[in-house]
Protein backbone atom coordinates (compact mmCIF):
# COMPACT_ATOMS: atom_id res chain seq x y z
CA UNK A 1 0.00 0.00 0.00
CA UNK A 2 2.73 2.39 1.03
CA UNK A 3 4.72 1.42 -2.05
CA UNK A 4 1.79 2.17 -4.32
CA UNK A 5 1.40 5.51 -2.56
CA UNK A 6 5.07 6.32 -3.07
CA UNK A 7 4.88 5.24 -6.71
CA UNK A 8 1.97 7.61 -7.37
CA UNK A 9 3.50 10.44 -5.36
CA UNK A 10 6.76 10.21 -7.28
CA UNK A 11 4.81 10.95 -10.43
CA UNK A 12 2.10 13.40 -9.24
CA UNK A 13 3.77 14.95 -6.20
CA UNK A 14 0.55 15.07 -4.16
CA UNK A 15 1.97 14.67 -0.65
CA UNK A 16 2.88 18.35 -0.13
CA UNK A 17 -0.71 19.30 -1.03
CA UNK A 18 -2.17 16.72 1.37
CA UNK A 19 0.22 17.72 4.13
CA UNK A 20 -0.52 21.40 3.54
CA UNK A 21 -4.24 20.67 3.79
CA UNK A 22 -4.05 18.53 6.92
CA UNK A 23 -1.38 20.41 8.85
CA UNK A 24 -2.49 23.97 8.11
CA UNK A 25 -3.07 25.85 11.36
CA UNK A 26 -6.66 26.67 12.23
CA UNK A 27 -7.99 28.64 15.23
CA UNK A 28 -8.03 26.61 18.42
CA UNK A 29 -11.54 27.35 19.58
CA UNK A 30 -13.20 25.27 16.87
CA UNK A 31 -15.77 22.99 18.42
CA UNK A 32 -18.75 20.77 17.72
CA UNK A 33 -20.81 23.55 16.19
CA UNK A 34 -18.27 23.78 13.38
CA UNK A 35 -19.21 20.26 12.30
CA UNK A 36 -22.58 21.47 10.96
CA UNK A 37 -20.98 22.47 7.65
CA UNK A 38 -19.20 19.17 7.17
CA UNK A 39 -22.39 17.34 8.19
CA UNK A 40 -24.23 19.21 5.41
CA UNK A 41 -21.50 18.24 2.96
CA UNK A 42 -21.71 14.64 4.13
CA UNK A 43 -25.48 14.55 3.59
CA UNK A 44 -25.00 15.97 0.09
CA UNK A 45 -22.65 13.09 -0.67
CA UNK A 46 -25.25 10.65 0.69
CA UNK A 47 -27.83 12.19 -1.66
CA UNK A 48 -25.54 11.95 -4.67
CA UNK A 49 -24.70 8.29 -4.04
CA UNK A 50 -28.28 7.18 -3.36
CA UNK A 51 -29.66 9.44 -6.12
CA UNK A 52 -27.40 7.87 -8.73
CA UNK A 53 -28.47 4.42 -7.55
CA UNK A 54 -32.17 5.32 -7.77
CA UNK A 55 -31.78 6.73 -11.28
CA UNK A 56 -30.87 3.21 -12.48
CA UNK A 57 -34.47 2.07 -12.16
CA UNK A 58 -36.57 5.21 -12.08
CA UNK A 59 -38.56 6.23 -15.18
CA UNK A 60 -39.74 9.86 -15.39
CA UNK A 61 -43.08 9.41 -17.13
CA UNK A 62 -46.59 9.61 -15.65
CA UNK A 63 -47.38 6.14 -16.96
CA UNK A 64 -44.32 4.51 -15.41
CA UNK A 65 -42.90 6.69 -12.61
CA UNK A 66 -45.07 5.31 -9.81
CA UNK A 67 -44.66 1.72 -10.99
CA UNK A 68 -40.88 2.15 -11.24
CA UNK A 69 -40.81 3.42 -7.65
CA UNK A 70 -42.83 0.38 -6.55
CA UNK A 71 -40.31 -1.74 -8.43
CA UNK A 72 -37.44 -0.02 -6.62
CA UNK A 73 -39.12 -0.71 -3.28
CA UNK A 74 -39.44 -4.42 -4.15
CA UNK A 75 -35.85 -4.83 -5.32
CA UNK A 76 -33.33 -5.91 -2.63
CA UNK A 77 -31.95 -2.82 -0.85
CA UNK A 78 -34.21 -0.66 -3.05
CA UNK A 79 -36.47 0.50 -0.24
CA UNK A 80 -33.42 1.17 1.94
CA UNK A 81 -31.72 3.27 -0.73
CA UNK A 82 -34.92 5.23 -1.37
CA UNK A 83 -35.43 5.55 2.38
CA UNK A 84 -31.93 6.94 2.85
CA UNK A 85 -32.51 9.40 0.01
CA UNK A 86 -35.78 10.53 1.61
CA UNK A 87 -34.57 10.88 5.20
CA UNK A 88 -31.22 12.39 4.31
CA UNK A 89 -33.09 14.99 2.22
CA UNK A 90 -35.02 16.14 5.27
CA UNK A 91 -31.90 16.16 7.43
CA UNK A 92 -30.04 18.06 4.73
CA UNK A 93 -32.57 20.89 4.86
CA UNK A 94 -32.35 20.86 8.66
CA UNK A 95 -28.55 20.83 8.77
CA UNK A 96 -28.02 23.46 6.11
CA UNK A 97 -30.42 25.63 8.15
CA UNK A 98 -28.48 24.99 11.37
CA UNK A 99 -25.18 25.62 9.58
CA UNK A 100 -26.48 28.99 8.34
CA UNK A 101 -27.66 29.83 11.84
CA UNK A 102 -24.29 28.89 13.34
CA UNK A 103 -22.39 30.98 10.81
CA UNK A 104 -24.61 33.99 11.45
CA UNK A 105 -24.52 33.76 15.24
CA UNK A 106 -20.72 33.32 15.17
CA UNK A 107 -20.50 36.35 12.85
CA UNK A 108 -18.47 34.25 10.42
CA UNK A 109 -20.16 35.85 7.40
CA UNK A 110 -18.29 39.10 8.07
CA UNK A 111 -15.21 40.44 6.32
CA UNK A 112 -13.39 38.79 4.57
CA UNK A 113 -15.85 35.91 4.06
CA UNK A 114 -18.74 37.70 2.32
CA UNK A 115 -18.31 35.73 -0.91
CA UNK A 116 -18.37 32.42 0.97
CA UNK A 117 -21.71 33.49 2.51
CA UNK A 118 -23.14 34.46 -0.90
CA UNK A 119 -22.19 31.09 -2.37
CA UNK A 120 -23.56 29.31 0.70
CA UNK A 121 -26.84 31.21 0.43
CA UNK A 122 -27.09 30.19 -3.23
CA UNK A 123 -26.45 26.59 -2.14
CA UNK A 124 -29.34 26.86 0.32
CA UNK A 125 -31.68 27.80 -2.53
CA UNK A 126 -30.28 24.95 -4.61
CA UNK A 127 -31.03 22.50 -1.80
CA UNK A 128 -34.62 23.79 -1.64
CA UNK A 129 -34.77 23.40 -5.43
CA UNK A 130 -33.68 19.79 -5.04
CA UNK A 131 -36.38 19.23 -2.44
CA UNK A 132 -39.08 20.84 -4.60
CA UNK A 133 -38.18 18.96 -7.79
CA UNK A 134 -37.46 15.68 -6.02
CA UNK A 135 -40.91 15.69 -4.48
CA UNK A 136 -42.70 15.23 -7.82
CA UNK A 137 -40.67 12.27 -9.01
CA UNK A 138 -42.50 9.40 -7.22
CA UNK A 139 -45.73 10.62 -8.90
CA UNK A 140 -47.84 9.83 -5.87
CA UNK A 141 -50.64 12.02 -4.53
CA UNK A 142 -48.34 14.11 -2.38
CA UNK A 143 -45.98 14.62 -5.32
CA UNK A 144 -48.69 15.72 -7.73
CA UNK A 145 -50.57 18.10 -5.44
CA UNK A 146 -47.47 19.63 -3.88
CA UNK A 147 -46.30 20.42 -7.38
CA UNK A 148 -49.68 21.92 -8.33
CA UNK A 149 -49.40 24.26 -5.35
CA UNK A 150 -45.66 24.89 -5.70
CA UNK A 151 -45.79 25.82 -9.37
CA UNK A 152 -48.76 28.10 -8.71
CA UNK A 153 -46.83 29.90 -5.97
CA UNK A 154 -43.85 30.34 -8.30
CA UNK A 155 -46.30 31.51 -10.95
CA UNK A 156 -47.67 34.23 -8.71
CA UNK A 157 -44.68 36.52 -9.32
CA UNK A 158 -45.78 39.75 -11.01
CA UNK A 159 -45.06 40.14 -14.73
CA UNK A 160 -42.92 37.04 -15.12
CA UNK A 161 -45.23 34.71 -13.16
CA UNK A 162 -47.04 33.32 -16.18
CA UNK A 163 -43.81 32.56 -18.01
CA UNK A 164 -42.23 31.03 -14.89
CA UNK A 165 -45.21 28.73 -14.41
CA UNK A 166 -45.19 27.62 -18.05
CA UNK A 167 -41.45 27.12 -17.87
CA UNK A 168 -41.75 24.94 -14.76
CA UNK A 169 -44.74 22.92 -15.96
CA UNK A 170 -43.69 22.89 -19.59
CA UNK A 171 -47.05 24.44 -20.47
CA UNK A 172 -50.33 25.21 -18.70
CA UNK A 173 -51.08 21.74 -17.50
CA UNK A 174 -49.24 19.46 -15.14
CA UNK A 175 -48.31 16.24 -16.90
CA UNK A 176 -45.68 14.28 -18.77
CA UNK A 177 -43.64 17.33 -19.76
CA UNK A 178 -43.60 18.61 -16.17
CA UNK A 179 -42.30 15.33 -14.82
CA UNK A 180 -39.57 15.10 -17.47
CA UNK A 181 -38.45 18.68 -16.72
CA UNK A 182 -38.41 18.19 -12.97
CA UNK A 183 -36.34 15.05 -13.46
CA UNK A 184 -33.89 16.87 -15.73
CA UNK A 185 -33.58 19.74 -13.29
CA UNK A 186 -33.26 17.38 -10.31
CA UNK A 187 -30.58 15.10 -11.67
CA UNK A 188 -28.63 17.34 -14.09
CA UNK A 189 -29.10 21.07 -13.66
CA UNK A 190 -29.08 21.28 -9.88
CA UNK A 191 -26.28 18.73 -9.30
CA UNK A 192 -24.07 20.59 -11.82
CA UNK A 193 -24.69 23.90 -10.04
CA UNK A 194 -24.28 22.17 -6.70
CA UNK A 195 -20.87 20.70 -7.49
CA UNK A 196 -19.55 23.98 -8.88
CA UNK A 197 -20.81 26.01 -5.93
CA UNK A 198 -19.78 23.49 -3.27
CA UNK A 199 -16.30 23.57 -4.82
CA UNK A 200 -16.26 27.36 -4.70
CA UNK A 201 -17.64 27.38 -1.14
CA UNK A 202 -14.93 24.99 0.09
CA UNK A 203 -12.28 26.92 -1.83
CA UNK A 204 -13.42 30.01 0.07
CA UNK A 205 -13.32 28.19 3.40
CA UNK A 206 -9.80 26.85 2.84
CA UNK A 207 -8.49 30.03 1.21
CA UNK A 208 -9.74 32.29 4.02
CA UNK A 209 -9.20 29.75 6.76
CA UNK A 210 -11.92 28.64 9.14
CA UNK A 211 -13.41 31.57 11.02
CA UNK A 212 -12.48 31.50 14.67
CA UNK A 213 -15.26 31.38 17.24
CA UNK A 214 -16.01 34.97 18.23
CA UNK A 215 -14.24 36.43 21.25
CA UNK A 216 -15.51 39.32 23.32
CA UNK A 217 -12.00 40.67 23.57
CA UNK A 218 -9.53 40.42 20.72
CA UNK A 219 -6.35 38.38 21.19
CA UNK A 220 -4.14 41.22 20.08
CA UNK A 221 -4.47 44.76 21.37
CA UNK A 222 -6.05 47.28 19.05
CA UNK A 223 -3.53 49.45 17.31
CA UNK A 224 -4.72 52.72 15.81
CA UNK A 225 -3.97 53.47 12.18
CA UNK A 226 -4.25 49.90 10.91
CA UNK A 227 -6.43 49.24 7.87
CA UNK A 228 -9.30 46.77 8.22
CA UNK A 229 -7.30 44.19 6.31
CA UNK A 230 -4.18 44.63 8.49
CA UNK A 231 -6.17 44.52 11.71
CA UNK A 232 -8.00 41.36 10.56
CA UNK A 233 -4.82 39.61 9.48
CA UNK A 234 -3.05 40.40 12.75
CA UNK A 235 -5.93 38.99 14.78
CA UNK A 236 -6.34 35.89 12.60
CA UNK A 237 -2.59 35.20 12.71
CA UNK A 238 -2.80 35.32 16.50
CA UNK A 239 -5.75 32.90 16.42
CA UNK A 240 -3.71 30.50 14.31
CA UNK A 241 -0.71 30.73 16.61
CA UNK A 242 -2.98 29.92 19.55
CA UNK A 243 -4.62 27.28 17.37
CA UNK A 244 -4.04 23.71 16.27
CA UNK A 245 -3.46 21.82 13.03
CA UNK A 246 -6.59 21.14 10.96
CA UNK A 247 -6.38 17.35 11.28
CA UNK A 248 -7.10 17.61 14.99
CA UNK A 249 -10.65 18.78 14.31
CA UNK A 250 -11.41 16.09 11.72
CA UNK A 251 -12.36 13.44 14.25
CA UNK A 252 -15.36 15.49 15.39
CA UNK A 253 -16.57 15.71 11.78
CA UNK A 254 -16.18 11.96 11.39
CA UNK A 255 -18.15 11.31 14.59
CA UNK A 256 -21.02 13.52 13.39
CA UNK A 257 -21.00 11.89 9.95
CA UNK A 258 -21.06 8.43 11.51
CA UNK A 259 -23.94 9.34 13.82
CA UNK A 260 -25.88 10.82 10.89
CA UNK A 261 -25.26 7.71 8.82
CA UNK A 262 -26.57 5.49 11.61
CA UNK A 263 -29.65 7.69 12.08
CA UNK A 264 -30.43 7.85 8.37
CA UNK A 265 -29.97 4.11 7.79
CA UNK A 266 -32.01 3.32 10.92
CA UNK A 267 -34.83 5.58 9.72
CA UNK A 268 -34.63 4.14 6.21
CA UNK A 269 -34.74 0.54 7.42
CA UNK A 270 -37.43 1.05 10.04
CA UNK A 271 -39.65 3.59 8.28
CA UNK A 272 -38.76 3.13 4.62
CA UNK A 273 -39.64 6.01 2.35
CA UNK A 274 -43.26 7.14 2.38
CA UNK A 275 -45.31 6.54 -0.76
CA UNK A 276 -48.90 7.62 -1.10
CA UNK A 277 -51.34 6.22 -3.67
CA UNK A 278 -50.54 6.98 -7.30
CA UNK A 279 -51.16 10.57 -8.40
CA UNK A 280 -54.82 11.11 -9.19
CA UNK A 281 -55.44 14.47 -10.87
CA UNK A 282 -59.17 13.91 -10.34
CA UNK A 283 -59.04 13.40 -6.59
CA UNK A 284 -61.63 15.55 -4.83
CA UNK A 285 -61.04 14.70 -1.22
CA UNK A 286 -57.25 14.77 -1.09
CA UNK A 287 -55.74 17.26 1.33
CA UNK A 288 -52.42 18.52 -0.05
CA UNK A 289 -49.73 18.91 2.59
CA UNK A 290 -46.11 19.72 1.88
CA UNK A 291 -43.09 18.06 3.50
CA UNK A 292 -42.32 19.56 6.93
CA UNK A 293 -39.65 21.91 5.58
CA UNK A 294 -42.14 23.74 3.35
CA UNK A 295 -44.93 23.79 5.95
CA UNK A 296 -43.90 27.23 7.21
CA UNK A 297 -44.25 28.76 3.74
CA UNK A 298 -47.49 26.86 3.13
CA UNK A 299 -48.91 28.05 6.43
CA UNK A 300 -47.90 31.64 5.70
CA UNK A 301 -50.30 31.65 2.74
CA UNK A 302 -53.20 31.54 5.20
CA UNK A 303 -52.45 35.09 6.17
CA UNK A 304 -52.60 36.72 2.75
CA UNK A 305 -55.89 37.26 0.98
CA UNK A 306 -57.33 39.49 -1.68
CA UNK A 307 -56.43 40.59 -5.18
CA UNK A 308 -52.97 41.72 -4.19
CA UNK A 309 -52.13 38.41 -2.51
CA UNK A 310 -49.76 37.18 -5.26
CA UNK A 311 -47.94 40.50 -5.17
CA UNK A 312 -47.64 40.43 -1.38
CA UNK A 313 -46.37 36.85 -1.37
CA UNK A 314 -43.87 37.70 -4.06
CA UNK A 315 -42.67 40.79 -2.22
CA UNK A 316 -42.36 38.97 1.11
CA UNK A 317 -40.49 36.00 -0.40
CA UNK A 318 -38.25 38.15 -2.57
CA UNK A 319 -37.51 40.55 0.27
CA UNK A 320 -36.66 37.61 2.52
CA UNK A 321 -34.39 36.04 -0.09
CA UNK A 322 -32.58 39.30 -0.91
CA UNK A 323 -32.01 40.16 2.76
CA UNK A 324 -30.71 36.62 3.33
CA UNK A 325 -28.28 36.88 0.40
CA UNK A 326 -27.07 40.32 1.44
CA UNK A 327 -26.59 39.52 5.14
CA UNK A 328 -22.81 40.17 5.11
CA UNK A 329 -23.39 43.60 3.56
CA UNK A 330 -26.15 44.53 6.01
CA UNK A 331 -24.74 43.07 9.24
CA UNK A 332 -21.30 44.68 9.15
CA UNK A 333 -18.99 45.86 11.86
CA UNK A 334 -16.14 44.17 13.65
CA UNK A 335 -17.64 42.98 16.95
CA UNK A 336 -18.53 39.36 16.19
CA UNK A 337 -19.58 38.07 19.59
CA UNK A 338 -23.35 37.48 19.82
CA UNK A 339 -23.57 39.53 23.03
CA UNK A 340 -22.14 42.51 21.21
CA UNK A 341 -24.82 42.23 18.48
CA UNK A 342 -28.12 42.37 20.39
CA UNK A 343 -30.19 43.62 17.42
CA UNK A 344 -28.88 40.95 15.03
CA UNK A 345 -29.43 38.24 17.65
CA UNK A 346 -32.92 39.57 18.45
CA UNK A 347 -33.90 39.49 14.77
CA UNK A 348 -32.42 35.99 14.43
CA UNK A 349 -34.52 34.83 17.36
CA UNK A 350 -37.63 36.35 15.75
CA UNK A 351 -36.92 34.57 12.45
CA UNK A 352 -36.23 31.24 14.16
CA UNK A 353 -39.37 31.50 16.30
CA UNK A 354 -41.41 32.46 13.21
CA UNK A 355 -40.12 29.49 11.20
CA UNK A 356 -40.58 27.01 14.04
CA UNK A 357 -43.97 28.51 14.94
CA UNK A 358 -45.34 28.49 11.40
CA UNK A 359 -44.09 24.93 10.91
CA UNK A 360 -45.75 23.87 14.16
CA UNK A 361 -49.05 25.58 13.36
CA UNK A 362 -48.95 24.16 9.82
CA UNK A 363 -48.21 20.67 11.12
CA UNK A 364 -50.84 20.66 13.83
CA UNK A 365 -53.66 22.54 12.05
CA UNK A 366 -56.42 20.26 10.92
CA UNK A 367 -57.27 20.90 7.31
CA UNK A 368 -60.51 22.76 6.74
CA UNK A 369 -63.47 20.98 5.27
CA UNK A 370 -62.96 17.56 6.76
CA UNK A 371 -63.04 18.45 10.45
CA UNK A 372 -65.61 17.06 12.83
CA UNK A 373 -65.78 18.55 16.30
CA UNK A 374 -66.08 15.67 18.82
CA UNK A 375 -68.64 15.67 21.62
CA UNK A 376 -67.54 16.15 25.20
CA UNK A 377 -68.83 14.59 28.39
CA UNK A 378 -71.88 16.00 30.13
CA UNK A 379 -73.50 17.41 27.02
CA UNK A 380 -77.31 17.48 26.98
CA UNK A 381 -79.39 15.81 24.28
CA UNK A 382 -80.10 19.21 22.67
CA UNK A 383 -76.44 20.17 22.66
CA UNK A 384 -75.46 16.83 21.10
CA UNK A 385 -78.06 17.30 18.40
CA UNK A 386 -76.78 20.86 17.83
CA UNK A 387 -73.22 19.57 17.55
CA UNK A 388 -74.21 17.01 14.93
CA UNK A 389 -75.93 19.78 12.93
CA UNK A 390 -72.75 21.84 13.28
CA UNK A 391 -70.71 18.96 11.87
CA UNK A 392 -73.20 18.05 9.13
CA UNK A 393 -73.42 21.62 7.91
CA UNK A 394 -69.63 21.89 7.63
CA UNK A 395 -69.40 24.88 9.98
CA UNK A 396 -65.87 23.76 10.89
CA UNK A 397 -64.61 24.63 7.41
CA UNK A 398 -64.63 28.28 8.52
CA UNK A 399 -64.99 28.25 12.32
CA UNK A 400 -62.84 26.86 15.11
CA UNK A 401 -64.00 25.19 18.28
CA UNK A 402 -61.25 24.23 20.73
CA UNK A 403 -58.62 24.47 18.01
CA UNK A 404 -60.48 22.37 15.44
CA UNK A 405 -61.56 23.93 12.17
CA UNK A 406 -60.87 26.74 9.74
CA UNK A 407 -59.73 30.29 10.33
CA UNK A 408 -62.00 32.20 7.97
CA UNK A 409 -64.79 32.95 10.43
CA UNK A 410 -64.60 33.86 14.12
CA UNK A 411 -63.49 31.28 16.68
CA UNK A 412 -66.59 29.85 18.37
CA UNK A 413 -64.86 28.20 21.32
CA UNK A 414 -66.40 30.77 23.70
CA UNK A 415 -69.48 31.67 21.65
CA UNK A 416 -71.80 31.54 24.69
CA UNK A 417 -69.58 33.95 26.53
CA UNK A 418 -69.28 36.38 23.63
CA UNK A 419 -72.80 36.49 22.18
CA UNK A 420 -76.45 36.33 23.19
CA UNK A 421 -78.51 33.36 21.85
CA UNK A 422 -80.65 35.75 19.77
CA UNK A 423 -77.57 37.19 18.07
CA UNK A 424 -76.18 33.74 17.31
CA UNK A 425 -79.52 32.73 15.79
CA UNK A 426 -79.70 35.86 13.65
CA UNK A 427 -76.12 35.38 12.49
CA UNK A 428 -76.85 31.80 11.36
CA UNK A 429 -80.06 32.60 9.48
CA UNK A 430 -79.12 35.94 7.95
CA UNK A 431 -75.45 36.67 8.47
CA UNK A 432 -74.21 40.25 8.36
CA UNK A 433 -70.91 39.19 6.82
CA UNK A 434 -71.51 38.37 3.16
CA UNK A 435 -68.77 35.75 3.21
CA UNK A 436 -70.95 33.51 5.38
CA UNK A 437 -73.70 31.55 3.65
CA UNK A 438 -77.15 31.90 5.28
CA UNK A 439 -78.45 28.71 6.80
CA UNK A 440 -82.14 29.55 6.46
CA UNK A 441 -83.18 26.05 5.45
CA UNK A 442 -82.53 24.46 8.85
CA UNK A 443 -85.62 23.20 10.65
CA UNK A 444 -86.70 25.12 13.75
CA UNK A 445 -85.57 22.22 15.90
CA UNK A 446 -82.13 22.05 14.26
CA UNK A 447 -81.68 25.78 14.65
CA UNK A 448 -82.74 25.73 18.31
CA UNK A 449 -80.34 22.89 19.11
CA UNK A 450 -77.47 24.51 17.19
CA UNK A 451 -77.94 27.78 19.10
CA UNK A 452 -78.21 25.85 22.37
CA UNK A 453 -74.98 24.03 21.56
CA UNK A 454 -73.05 27.12 20.51
CA UNK A 455 -74.16 29.21 23.48
CA UNK A 456 -73.18 26.36 25.80
CA UNK A 457 -69.56 26.98 24.80
CA UNK A 458 -68.07 29.26 27.44
Amino acid sequence: MRRIGRWIDERLNISPLVAGFLDRPVPGNIGWFHTLGSATLFLLVVQIVTGIALSMAYVPSPGSAYQSVLYIDQTPFGDTVRGIHHWAAGLLVLFIGLHILRVFIWGAHRYPREITWLIGAALFFIVLGFAFTGYLLPWDQKAYWATVVGTNIAGSAPLIGGAVLEFLRGGDQLGAVTLARFYGIHIWVLPALLLILVGAHLFGVIRQGIAASPRRHALVADEPGLSRREAYEREYAAEKIAGKPFWKSLLKDAVVAAVLMVVVVALAMSQGAPLEPQADPNATNYVPRPEWYFLDLFQMLWYFTGDLEPLLIFLVFTFGAVVFLLVPFIDRGTARHPRQRPIAMGLTAVVVVAIVGLTYVGASATPAGVVKVPSTEGMTQEELSGLSTYNEQGCASCHQIRGLGGHTGPDLSRAGFRWEPADVRRQIVSPKDTRMPSYDELTQQQLDDLVTYLTSLK
Partner: protein, 177 residues
Protein backbone atom coordinates in the same frame (compact mmCIF):
# COMPACT_ATOMS: atom_id res chain seq x y z
CA UNK B 1 8.85 44.95 -25.72
CA UNK B 2 5.91 47.27 -26.26
CA UNK B 3 5.88 50.59 -24.52
CA UNK B 4 3.02 52.93 -23.66
CA UNK B 5 -0.65 52.36 -24.25
CA UNK B 6 -0.25 49.86 -27.08
CA UNK B 7 -1.75 46.46 -26.54
CA UNK B 8 0.75 43.80 -25.56
CA UNK B 9 0.74 40.59 -27.54
CA UNK B 10 -0.30 38.69 -24.42
CA UNK B 11 -3.34 40.81 -23.63
CA UNK B 12 -4.33 40.76 -27.29
CA UNK B 13 -4.32 36.96 -27.28
CA UNK B 14 -6.27 36.88 -24.01
CA UNK B 15 -8.87 39.30 -25.35
CA UNK B 16 -9.20 37.34 -28.55
CA UNK B 17 -9.64 34.14 -26.53
CA UNK B 18 -12.38 35.76 -24.48
CA UNK B 19 -14.13 36.87 -27.64
CA UNK B 20 -13.86 33.51 -29.39
CA UNK B 21 -14.79 31.64 -26.21
CA UNK B 22 -17.77 33.91 -25.67
CA UNK B 23 -18.95 33.37 -29.22
CA UNK B 24 -18.63 29.59 -28.92
CA UNK B 25 -20.48 29.61 -25.58
CA UNK B 26 -23.29 31.73 -27.02
CA UNK B 27 -23.79 29.44 -30.01
CA UNK B 28 -23.80 26.43 -27.69
CA UNK B 29 -25.99 27.82 -24.92
CA UNK B 30 -28.54 29.81 -26.95
CA UNK B 31 -30.38 26.86 -28.53
CA UNK B 32 -30.21 24.87 -25.28
CA UNK B 33 -31.72 27.72 -23.26
CA UNK B 34 -34.21 28.48 -26.03
CA UNK B 35 -35.36 24.88 -26.09
CA UNK B 36 -35.72 24.56 -22.33
CA UNK B 37 -37.54 27.87 -21.88
CA UNK B 38 -39.76 27.45 -24.95
CA UNK B 39 -42.91 26.64 -22.93
CA UNK B 40 -42.51 30.00 -21.19
CA UNK B 41 -42.65 32.12 -24.31
CA UNK B 42 -44.06 29.94 -27.09
CA UNK B 43 -47.69 30.49 -26.12
CA UNK B 44 -47.15 34.20 -26.71
CA UNK B 45 -49.61 35.04 -23.99
CA UNK B 46 -49.68 38.73 -23.07
CA UNK B 47 -47.69 39.54 -19.94
CA UNK B 48 -49.90 40.43 -16.99
CA UNK B 49 -48.78 42.45 -14.02
CA UNK B 50 -50.68 40.34 -11.50
CA UNK B 51 -50.45 36.65 -12.28
CA UNK B 52 -53.08 34.13 -11.34
CA UNK B 53 -52.90 30.45 -10.59
CA UNK B 54 -53.37 27.99 -13.43
CA UNK B 55 -55.37 24.78 -13.07
CA UNK B 56 -53.21 21.67 -13.58
CA UNK B 57 -55.99 20.05 -15.62
CA UNK B 58 -54.98 18.30 -18.83
CA UNK B 59 -56.37 20.45 -21.66
CA UNK B 60 -58.57 19.55 -24.57
CA UNK B 61 -60.21 21.65 -27.26
CA UNK B 62 -62.70 18.95 -28.21
CA UNK B 63 -66.40 19.25 -27.41
CA UNK B 64 -67.31 16.45 -25.03
CA UNK B 65 -70.75 15.42 -23.77
CA UNK B 66 -71.17 15.38 -19.99
CA UNK B 67 -74.81 14.31 -19.76
CA UNK B 68 -78.43 15.34 -20.29
CA UNK B 69 -79.35 18.77 -18.96
CA UNK B 70 -82.64 17.41 -17.65
CA UNK B 71 -80.80 14.92 -15.45
CA UNK B 72 -79.08 17.62 -13.41
CA UNK B 73 -80.80 19.12 -10.40
CA UNK B 74 -80.87 22.93 -10.34
CA UNK B 75 -78.28 24.43 -8.00
CA UNK B 76 -76.78 21.12 -6.88
CA UNK B 77 -73.30 20.32 -8.22
CA UNK B 78 -72.67 16.90 -9.73
CA UNK B 79 -69.11 15.62 -10.00
CA UNK B 80 -68.51 13.76 -13.25
CA UNK B 81 -65.47 12.14 -14.82
CA UNK B 82 -65.58 12.89 -18.54
CA UNK B 83 -63.38 10.98 -20.99
CA UNK B 84 -61.62 13.64 -23.02
CA UNK B 85 -59.00 13.41 -25.78
CA UNK B 86 -55.98 15.30 -24.45
CA UNK B 87 -52.46 16.07 -25.58
CA UNK B 88 -49.87 15.63 -22.83
CA UNK B 89 -46.53 16.51 -24.39
CA UNK B 90 -45.89 13.67 -26.81
CA UNK B 91 -48.82 11.56 -25.63
CA UNK B 92 -52.24 11.87 -27.27
CA UNK B 93 -54.76 9.87 -25.31
CA UNK B 94 -58.24 9.85 -23.89
CA UNK B 95 -58.28 10.26 -20.12
CA UNK B 96 -60.96 10.90 -17.50
CA UNK B 97 -61.15 14.57 -16.49
CA UNK B 98 -63.19 15.55 -13.43
CA UNK B 99 -65.71 18.41 -13.73
CA UNK B 100 -68.42 19.88 -11.50
CA UNK B 101 -71.69 20.36 -13.37
CA UNK B 102 -74.16 22.85 -11.84
CA UNK B 103 -77.46 23.49 -13.57
CA UNK B 104 -78.30 27.14 -13.01
CA UNK B 105 -81.93 27.13 -14.22
CA UNK B 106 -84.14 25.56 -16.88
CA UNK B 107 -81.79 26.29 -19.78
CA UNK B 108 -78.45 27.35 -18.29
CA UNK B 109 -75.68 25.15 -17.03
CA UNK B 110 -72.23 25.91 -15.66
CA UNK B 111 -69.42 23.37 -15.75
CA UNK B 112 -66.52 24.12 -13.42
CA UNK B 113 -62.98 22.91 -13.24
CA UNK B 114 -62.71 21.53 -9.67
CA UNK B 115 -59.53 23.34 -8.64
CA UNK B 116 -59.26 26.22 -6.22
CA UNK B 117 -58.29 29.47 -7.94
CA UNK B 118 -55.93 30.24 -5.07
CA UNK B 119 -53.25 27.59 -5.59
CA UNK B 120 -54.99 24.76 -7.42
CA UNK B 121 -55.91 22.44 -4.55
CA UNK B 122 -58.80 20.04 -5.21
CA UNK B 123 -62.24 21.44 -4.38
CA UNK B 124 -64.93 19.21 -2.94
CA UNK B 125 -68.62 20.04 -2.63
CA UNK B 126 -69.74 20.12 0.97
CA UNK B 127 -73.42 19.23 0.98
CA UNK B 128 -73.96 20.50 4.49
CA UNK B 129 -72.45 23.94 4.00
CA UNK B 130 -73.63 24.20 0.41
CA UNK B 131 -70.16 25.33 -0.66
CA UNK B 132 -67.14 24.13 -2.55
CA UNK B 133 -64.45 23.90 0.10
CA UNK B 134 -60.71 24.06 -0.44
CA UNK B 135 -58.72 21.97 2.06
CA UNK B 136 -55.51 24.00 1.70
CA UNK B 137 -56.25 27.50 2.99
CA UNK B 138 -59.98 27.39 3.65
CA UNK B 139 -61.23 29.05 0.47
CA UNK B 140 -64.89 28.44 -0.34
CA UNK B 141 -67.16 29.04 -3.33
CA UNK B 142 -70.93 28.86 -3.79
CA UNK B 143 -72.71 26.72 -6.38
CA UNK B 144 -72.36 29.55 -8.90
CA UNK B 145 -68.58 29.35 -8.49
CA UNK B 146 -68.33 32.74 -6.74
CA UNK B 147 -65.81 33.20 -3.93
CA UNK B 148 -67.44 33.14 -0.50
CA UNK B 149 -64.41 33.22 1.75
CA UNK B 150 -60.70 32.71 2.02
CA UNK B 151 -57.83 33.65 -0.23
CA UNK B 152 -59.08 32.70 -3.74
CA UNK B 153 -58.72 35.83 -5.91
CA UNK B 154 -61.34 34.95 -8.54
CA UNK B 155 -64.35 32.71 -9.20
CA UNK B 156 -63.98 29.05 -10.12
CA UNK B 157 -62.81 28.38 -13.67
CA UNK B 158 -65.66 27.61 -16.08
CA UNK B 159 -65.52 25.44 -19.14
CA UNK B 160 -66.89 26.73 -22.40
CA UNK B 161 -70.33 25.06 -22.53
CA UNK B 162 -73.24 24.60 -24.89
CA UNK B 163 -76.45 22.61 -24.80
CA UNK B 164 -77.17 20.60 -27.91
CA UNK B 165 -80.51 18.80 -28.17
CA UNK B 166 -80.72 18.55 -24.38
CA UNK B 167 -77.12 17.29 -24.10
CA UNK B 168 -74.58 19.35 -22.17
CA UNK B 169 -71.23 19.70 -23.98
CA UNK B 170 -68.00 21.18 -22.69
CA UNK B 171 -65.23 22.70 -24.78
CA UNK B 172 -61.95 24.31 -23.82
CA UNK B 173 -60.93 25.94 -20.57
CA UNK B 174 -60.25 29.69 -20.86
CA UNK B 175 -56.67 30.33 -21.89
CA UNK B 176 -54.26 30.66 -18.98
CA UNK B 177 -56.88 29.86 -16.35
Amino acid sequence: MDEGPRLSRRSFVLRALTLVGGAIATVLVAPAVGFVTAPGWRSGRPVRFLSTSVAPTLRSNAWTAVGKLADFEVGVPTYILVDRPIVDGWAEETVPVGVQVVRQDEAEVAVFDPHCTHLGCPLAWSTGAGTFVCPCHGGSFNAAGEVLSGPPPRPMVRYETRVDAGEVLIGALPEGA
